[in-house]
């Protein structure tokens, strides 16, 4: 990674700096928006990677399995400081989340008999339903604009809910064939 510096490209961080930076990102990002946050810090504030590199990494991260944000941070930190960098960056990124989830889980199980908490959790759950459905529909609005992809999505949902299809089968039956179809169909890209 010793391409010509362009723009505000700076020297790579020290190990400690990378850990501290990803920890701050991991601890202060609430409700998603992590991709924009990571771009802001890595490209703009710190100048560790340039825009081009960031986009290239993003393009790989989003098609590979696993949480997109984790994949992206892995690629960026691997380019900066190798595998040690990856371990430190992920440590920073997920430690606050894991600690918070433990505390929240402990709260939920210790106070389940308190009526106010029961109501609170019911409201949280209702919001999570709306959020997840909203995410599916938002993605659908972008990707399901013709009959075939829309039919695949509906069939996937129905097979899981009614046929108890597992994740592996869903990927193999509804994901992989459509990828192969898109790759080899004569008309080319969309």
């Amino acid at each position: 990674m010793d391409s010509e510096s362009q723009g505000t490209r700076q020297a790579p961080p020290t190990h400690l700096r990378l850990l501290a930076t990803t920890f701050v990102i991991g601890a202060t990002s609430f409700g998603g928006g992590l991709l924009a946050y990571v771009r802001q810090v890595f490209v703009i504030t710190k100048g560790w990677v340039d825009e081009e590199e960031f986009i290239e990494s993003m393009e790989i991260a989003e098609v590979m399995p696993g949480p997109n944000i984790i994949n992206l941070v892995v690629l960026l930190s691997d380019d900066l400081l190798g595998v040690t960098g990856v371990i430190l960056a992920l440590l920073g990124m997920v430690t606050p989340a894991i600690v918070a989830n433990c505390l929240l889980a402990a709260f939920a199980i210790h106070f389940t008999h308190v009526p106010v908490v029961v109501a609170l959790l019911a409201g949280f759950g209702a919001s999570a339903v709306g959020l997840t459905a909203g995410n599916a529909l938002t993605m659908g609005r972008i990707h399901l604009r013709s009959l075939l992809p829309a039919a695949i999505a509906v069939l996937t949902t129905a097979s899981i809910l009614l046929g108890h299809l597992n994740l592996l089968a869903a990927v193999l039956l509804f994901g992989v064939p459509y990828v192969i179809y898109l790759r080899y169909r004569p008309s080319g890209g969309e």
């Binding site: 991991g26 609430f30 409700g31 928006g33 393009e59 790989i60 991260a61 989003e62 098609v63 399995p65 696993g66 949480p67 984790i70 994949n71 690629l75 380019d79 990856v86 990124m93 997920v94 606050p96 989340a97 894991i98 918070a100 989830n101 433990c102 929240l104 889980a105 939920a108 109501a119 609170l120 019911a122 409201g123 949280f124 759950g125 209702a126 919001s127 999570a128 339903v129 709306g130 959020l131 997840t132 459905a133 995410n135 599916a136 529909l137 993605m139 990707h143 999505a153 996937t156 949902t157 899981i160 809910l161 597992n166 592996l168 990927v171 994901g175 990828v179 192969i180 790759r183 890209g189």
Partner: protein
């Protein structure tokens, strides 16, 4: 120890199937932790998933809340690290390949990014349906209207505005407290 290993393997097994982001595994996580391993009840799963939206960092880490209930902090680490470990190894391997640059222009990249989307959306939608099904069993009478109302408002806000999801979850909880209490 055995249980911690089982937790790790359960979540690690989902990692390389999470095409399209962490949320596509939602229905499978529910099946695994509730029906297959009987680690938590279905409503506990909904609560932990919802609480995970309030935590900072990657939202997939709600999984560590699941692990925590089963086996404490080691369980939380096993679930959280398990889910990202295989995909991280894959990313490092891919990044070390000499021709990784060619990926950008490869016809496979476009085919994968577009082609996996319908199944991914179907999976997330199935997850949303499961959450709704479970949620509807824990509220009684008129409360179902409040819960459905919160879900629909949040759905609309998610689709048409950029309101922070953590704030929406918090808001839904507060509304429920005031209307139920």
């Amino acid at each position: 120890m055995h249980q911690v290993l089982t937790i790790f393997m359960t979540f690690a097994g989902l990692s390389l199937l999470a095409f399209g982001g962490g949320n596509v595994v939602l229905p499978q996580v529910e099946t695994d932790v509730v029906s297959r391993h009987h680690w938590i009840s279905s409503i506990e799963f909904v609560h932990l998933y919802a609480l995970g939206q309030l935590a900072p960092g990657p939202s997939a880490m709600y999984m560590s809340g699941n692990g925590f209930i089963v086996a404490g902090v080691p369980g939380a680490l096993a679930a959280g690290v398990g889910f990202i470990f295989p995909s991280t190894v894959l990313m490092i391997v891919i990044n070390s390949l000499e021709h990784v640059d060619r990926w950008r222009t490869s016809p496979w990249r476009h085919a994968m990014s577009v082609g996996m989307a319908p199944a991914a959306i179907g999976l997330v939608a199935a997850g949303a349906f499961r959450l709704a099904q479970i949620e509807s069993t824990v509220v009684q009478g008129w409360q179902i209207l409040v819960v459905a109302g919160i879900a629909l408002v949040v759905l609309g806000l998610t689709m048409w505005t950029k309101v922070n999801p953590a704030l929406m979850v918090l808001g839904g909880g507060i509304i429920a407290v005031f209307t139920f209490g």
